[in-house]
Homo-oligomer: 158 residues x 2
Amino acid sequence: MADRYEAIAEQFRVHGYKLTQPRRAIVQTLLGAAKPLSPAEIQQRGQKLYHELGLVTVYRTLELMELLGTVRAVHLADGCHGFAIASPGHTHHVVCERCHCVVEIAGCDLGDFLDTVAERTGYAITGHWLEVSGLCAACQAQDAAEHTHDDSIDATAR
Amino acid sequence: MADRYEAIAEQFRVHGYKLTQPRRAIVQTLLGAAKPLSPAEIQQRGQKLYHELGLVTVYRTLELMELLGTVRAVHLADGCHGFAIASPGHTHHVVCERCHCVVEIAGCDLGDFLDTVAERTGYAITGHWLEVSGLCAACQAQDAAEHTHDDSIDATAR
DNA sequence: ATGAGTGCAAACCGTTTGCAATCGG
DNA sequence: CCGATTGCAAACGGTTTGCACTCAT
């Protein structure tokens, strides 16, 4: 966790950007989030870490972090879900339909599929954007509990 | 082409929606577009077919068509590119980085990949959203022409 | 010390809503 | 004919911009 923060801080320094209090608060907020956050959500949560945090700064910092590749917008069929920390390199997000919590998937074995696409369409494939939706383990457990008519909802199931 | 229109028209009828002039214009506009169109672009182009076409109607018709599954929003890393006609069933779009023209890809062999994801994350995968970017054949040809210092840009290359 | 970074308020722009007039089945 | 559909204008909400002040280096 601490190293995740350190890695992002490094990106700021390396590119000559200052690590101000608002920016620290935003990075920490995103690191602590289990789901993609909208700018407004980032501001609200971030104010617990730095009380004066302004929404405008959130926008500007997100723009900067997107440029640095440390943050990525998460879209799904039903629209934009917000922003989430992105590990360096090519990764994708899996988003829970129910609670919107995300996990990153690192390896991406789409090569064969994309080769096929290139052949079929005549396009030279340069990139792709993939996001996967599903039910996280916790939400699956909750479902299972409900379906067995078990009224005692496990407190851990969320 | 005509049958593509007919198939969409059928969707309207089957679900009890009227096929009004503005709606016809919007459908025809989308069918005639080589790239995803924003609501404003749809209105502008659509007014050539039905002069009174209002922007509000475009929004409402897109919403309806999205519901009917005949249109789909196209997102990419750099934001929302607009709306494009979608064939029935599960398909993806390949978008040209340069001219934004799109082609649909029907088959989607992501099953194995998604199985791996499910195993690794513990999520029950319910859906995914994939869009591929690349250079279409025409834009590739244009590039090639430029790189060989060939000043005679082929008129067909665009 | 000094320029990058910030917060505020206002401008901006794409989208949605309320409503009276119109059109299509 | 009658209700679904439309266009207009106004409301709305998220995002961006201008500017004077502040903070990190």
